[in-house]
């Protein structure tokens, strides 16, 4: 994968899967710091529904790897309370579809306690969740809702797309003094990447340029980063040079990196798996058209899911969510103007 780093003196770096990278960040933080603990449904003996926390119960015990009842709003709220006492809880919400159940505590409590108290409190809570389509889980286990939380002042929103990114960003989330929601994508867990031998925190608010290019900037998040990279490789064969930027953190957003890239390429495509309408791409398009108006040679193209719930049958699911060819089409569309 482009953008991975080489170790000093060429020594090979460890390679982790995305799943292992999440686990590694959690485990290192828990080893270092008594204040860090994790809770969530089935994260203990089972190791989480996606296997992320496997083995952690053995190492850290049931107090710090807490299995919970099915109580999303109370889980998040309990995390808030512990965080306000100075602990650094990491709550796992099994599917992001269930963030809808915890939305009150995320939006009205976690995001606002510091503000409403006039700065008396901090809420160093991390909420990890995952979701997405691609394996036919049906409409209630596949939607992407990250855009909702970008709209909420007081929250930070991360959506790392690779193993090294999730490792470094989850670390930063845990040690950030604000509530952070970190989105993972089900189809990324198996993807491997070389990671720094020592965990290096990645600053929240810094985009990653996965690939440089001259003709068009693709701003992509989550699974679509990888689809965008495939599309870019394909486009290159046709002589179109594509820059792929992954904001990684949606709030705060690294507008500068995105806008500078578009000022260079003069064209922009934005791609995510969530529904296009009112998706994160709308915000990116609004920002780019505003800040790079005089540089744009074509309208910003948006790639996202069609405006439907996620259907079950694989042929329909595949049709609804975007893939590399959709990104490629958007690239060609913008370049063709």
């Amino acid at each position: 994968m482009p953008g991975t780093r080489r170790g000093q003196k060429g020594r090979p770096l460890p390679e982790l899967s995305y799943r292992e990278a999440v686990r590694d960040a959690l485990s290192q933080a828990m080893r270092k710091d008594e204040d860090v603990f994790i809770m969530g449904e089935d994260i203990a003996e089972m190791g989480g529904s996606m296997g992320v926390t496997q083995g952690m119960l053995d190492e850290f015990g049931p107090e710090r790897v807490r299995n919970t009842p099915i109580s999303e709003i109370a889980l998040v709220g309990t995390g808030i309370g512990a965080a306000m006492q100075g602990m650094r809880p990491v709550v796992e919400v099994m599917y992001e579809d269930f963030l809808t159940l915890a939305a009150e505590q995320l939006v009205n409590q976690a995001a606002k306690h510091r503000y409403m108290s006039g700065g008396q409190l901090k809420v160093p809570l991390t909420v990890r969740t995952q979701g997405g389509a691609g394996w036919s889980p049906g409409a209630q286990h596949a939607q992407q809702l990250e855009a909702w939380f970008v709209h909420i002042p007081g929250l930070k929103v991360l959506f790392p797309s690779t193993a090294s990114d999730v490792r470094g960003l989850l670390w930063s989330a845990i040690y950030d003094d604000n509530p952070v929601i970190l989105f993972e994508h089900r189809t990324l867990y198996g993807l491997k990447e070389e990671v720094p031998a020592e965990l290096e925190p990645i600053p929240i608010g810094k985009a990653r340029v996965h690939r440089e290019g001259e003709d068009v900037t693709v701003v992509a998040t989550g699974r679509l980063v990888h689809e965008a990279l495939s599309a870019a490789a394909e486009a290159e064969k046709g002589g179109v040079s594509v820059e792929v930027v992954d904001p990684r953190t949606l709030q705060p957003l690294d507008e500068e990196t995105i806008v500078e890239s578009v000022k260079k390429t003069n064209r922009c495509v934005v791609a995510h798996e969530a529904v296009t309408r009112m998706g994160f791409g709308a915000e990116v398009a609004a920002v780019v058209q505003h800040q790079a108006f005089d540089w744009l040679d074509a309208p910003v193209e948006r790639v996202g899911a069609k405006f439907t719930p996620i259907p079950f049958a694989p042929v329909m699911e595949e049709f609804v969510v975007p893939h590399a060819d959709d990104v490629l089409e958007a690239i060609q569309q913008t370049v063709g103007r």
Partner: protein, 323 residues
């Protein structure tokens, strides 16, 4: 404990009918496991092997016009509510002949014509709708009852609490069937509920409750009958607690690393509702074989049906978003 008295004992003939149905569910779900392992079934599947008496006992007690809402563990309820195995299997294969026309999948089996308002993949998500449906029955003075299935794990979610409170407050004709299989995925009851008798949850609303052996289909049937009558007669909703067992993993493919060694084997010996009913009826091997053959044939045929079904066109995904 049960102030609502059980009633409507089942005839020998009925029990044999129940047996055939439970066996069909068992064979259907075993086939689902097999086809999943063979890589033929997409998505996320949960079987209710061990809980067949709950589905059959409750659904046989329903009357025409009664409705149900199910859960992520929906095949048994759906079969028991009268949907043909072909339509369910076709749904699992994602075909338009499926009971949700390929839009739903295992966790979203619907059959509205037969009073199945849908399985729900959000724990507790189906209960409020049943309260609302029952409210509509009450508004219209229709002698119908709404039935919601849910698990022990679901009793911890706020949705369920609010729905039960509202149902009792408004005395709507609803029956809440809690299938207590003592697990929520990998989480044993001891890690998710601080009480052992779940009817205490109903007491928090002053709701009538019954606690029943969910492995004995006759008991379930009688209790369900009584609960439905109670609700239908306008005497308020009932919380029907069925003590049952999950004889498999949480989902198809679950290695059950979390489960005490030997638990499943022992439960399969002592708590299999199909075996229990077979013994209760004193079925001869021949009688059993015949019923079994019948069930297997239906299931086999459903796989054939499903495989020969029609894949939706990709663009069909754009339909049915709005009425």
């Amino acid at each position: 404990m049960a102030k609502v008295e059980k009633k409507g004992s089942a005839s020998e003939e009925q029990l044999r009918e129940f047996f055939r149905e439970m066996l069909l569910i068992r064979r259907f779900e075993e086939k689902v496991e097999e086809r999943f392992r063979a890589g033929e079934l997409p998505g996320f599947l949960h079987v209710a092997i061990g809980q067949e008496a709950c589905a059959v006992g409750v659904c046989r007690a329903l009357e025409e016009g009664d409705i149900i809402a199910s859960t992520h563990r929906a095949h048994g309820h759906t079969l028991a509510k009268g949907t043909h195995p072909n339509e369910i299997m076709a749904e699992l294969y994602g075909k338009i002949e499926g009971c949700s026309h390929g839009y739903g999948g295992s966790m979203h089996l619907y059959d509205v014509e037969r009073g199945n308002l849908g399985a729900n993949a959000v724990v507790g998500g189906g209960l409020p709708s049943i309260v609302g449906a029952a409210l509509a029955f009450k508004f219209r003075d229709e002698p119908r009852v709404g039935v919601a299935f849910f698990g022990d794990g679901a009793t911890n979610i706020g949705t369920v609490h609010e729905a039960l409170n509202l149902a009792q407050l408004w005395k709507v004709p609803a029956v809440f069937v809690c299938e207590n299989n003592h697990w929520a995925e990998s989480t044993p009851a001891s890690q998710h509920v601080p009480i052992t008798d779940l009817t205490k949850r109903a007491a928090a609303y002053g709701m009538e409750a019954m606690r029943i052996d969910g492995q004995d289909v006759e008991e379930v049937y009688q209790a369900a009958h009584a609960a439905l009558d109670h609700a239908r007669e306008g005497r308020g909703p009932v919380f029907l607690l069925l003590e049952t067992y999950r004889l498999t993993g949480h989902y198809v493919g679950d290695p059950q690393v979390y489960r005490p060694k030997g638990e499943v084997e022992e439960l399969r010996q002592t708590q299999d509702p199909v075996t229990k009913l077979r013994e209760r009826l004193g079925l001869t091997d021949e009688e059993f074989e015949e019923a079994d053959r019948e069930a297997r044939e239906l299931v086999e045929a459903s796989v054939e049906f499903a495989k020969n079904g029609t894949d939706p066109k990709p663009e069909d995904a754009l339909k049915n978003v709005y009425a």
